[in-house]
Amino acid sequence: MPEAVARRRRRPAGRINLFLWLGATLLAAFAVLAVLGERVAPYDPTTQDLFAMLEGPTAAHLFGTDNVGRDILSRIIVGTRFTLSIALASMFFAGIGGIALGSIAGYFGGVTDRVVTGIIDLLLTVPNIVLAIAIAAAAGSSATGLTIAITASFIPPLARLVRGRVIELREEDFIAAAITVGMGHTRILLRHILPNAATVIIIELSLNAGQAVLIGSALGFLGLGVQPPAPEWGTMLGASREYLTVAPHLVIAPGIAISLLVLAFNAFGDGLRDVFDPASRN
């Protein structure tokens, strides 16, 4: 089984993966901004200044001001918290959901597998952003509703991935050995199967986090996410649409912020995969 052999191959020790470090550094920077938020923002993100509306970038307002004179830089900094926490929370819950469903289906097989896989395959036929829109419509427009919507749209593909990996591992000799010595199912799953599936799951989650940021900001842009005046980046872009002709600078900063965060997650995920799972690249 050449794939299995290749998967165990590691990069020569000591070589630094550029992607991994670029991603990690960017993510760390965003995390610092998310934690500090208001404390490092030059202005209050919701204070309006009607004498400084739609101003282009100046020394006082590096990214300019919006339609009610709020400082865009401060709104971007404080908004980091929304985007980052929605992405991380939805990946956390989608991870738990995907692992639970995927490992139950993969490990027990038979009817359980057929029922779970059937539902997963059904949900996979609904494009994930459409599923998220439908769920956001039902769950309501808020940070919580957004998190539920993104979580739900990422569980099916994750469950399918986990199921595949668990089925692969179930055939390994050490699992047969564990069953032979009388170990319980729960313990085998938690102690022997999942730790071996962890690498694949963590890589997939960090790559999906970038997607989650994109979907979350798209829903915000469409008015189905975090509601104004909260400074969520996608919501900010949605609000700046009508000023596209008079104040295009409104559009620049939130878009760059979203792209940088997505880039950070993608680079981190790609780097992790290069280092720990080189065989699965494309």
Partner: protein, 306 residues
Amino acid sequence: MIGFLARRFATIPLVVLGVVTILFIIFKSVPGDEAAFVAGATATQSEIEAVRVQLGLDRPLVEQYARHVSGLVVGDFGYSTTFRGNPLPHIISRLPATLALAAAAIGLTILIGIPAGVVAAAYRNRLPDYLISLSVVGLLAIPNFWLGMLLIAWLSVDLGLLPSFGASGPASLVIPTLALAARLIALVARMTRGVVIEELRKDYVRTARAKGLSKGLALRRHVLRNVMIPTVTVIGLQAGYLLGGSVVVERLCAWPGIGDLLLTAVSVRDYTLVQGIVMIFVVSFLVINIAVEVLYRFVNPRLRYA
């Protein structure tokens, strides 16, 4: 081939039934009185009750479900408050715009993605490769609606070349297509680059080169044929993105497709319309996937006998 198509198309109703069931459960569990909503804010209690009886909402859930499903079989999607009746004809009339957008995006992806990937592979680890690979990383991180906004600001507002929204002729299609296709172009270019690099190492390329073919000719005559397979794979895998992304892009550019209609339906809480549109998305997704499998057999003759 006909047997294969028949088998694949036969699964569509089953999948649709499953999705309809899940949607029915989701939307029946949304809090709020459906009848009161349909009747409108000014309706009296007796009017609400009349609507409830008229729409069959007073019946047990199982009976409502059975009626819902049997209605779908004959093309009756239920009562949409937006269209005051069966929304199916209105959804169908919006479908061509979405399909045109998706087709244009796929076309652009093939036109740009494949050549970019081949060039990157041919100039591996040299300047053109770095530029293309960097663009790929960038395009995968940029939200499609932001790209669309930048294109509107640049091409329509600054240069006045293209209409900024609506559907007035083929020029209106340019910005939404670019915004939607960017991600696909990046994915296809990356995949093509990988495949070409791998293929260039193979024996048949060495043979072609040994008998005197130039590198460019070997690429065009021999390698390029093998590139279509991963391209088809990427487009198949991204069918969901293509349909989902169209929702966002259509709203941005006021392109009159079903994605735009879905958002209207969500904003007025017309759940009948939402369910109908999601179903059409699911059927489109399944049809695209069948088309991809058929294409596979054309670009990869090995599969025809498998």
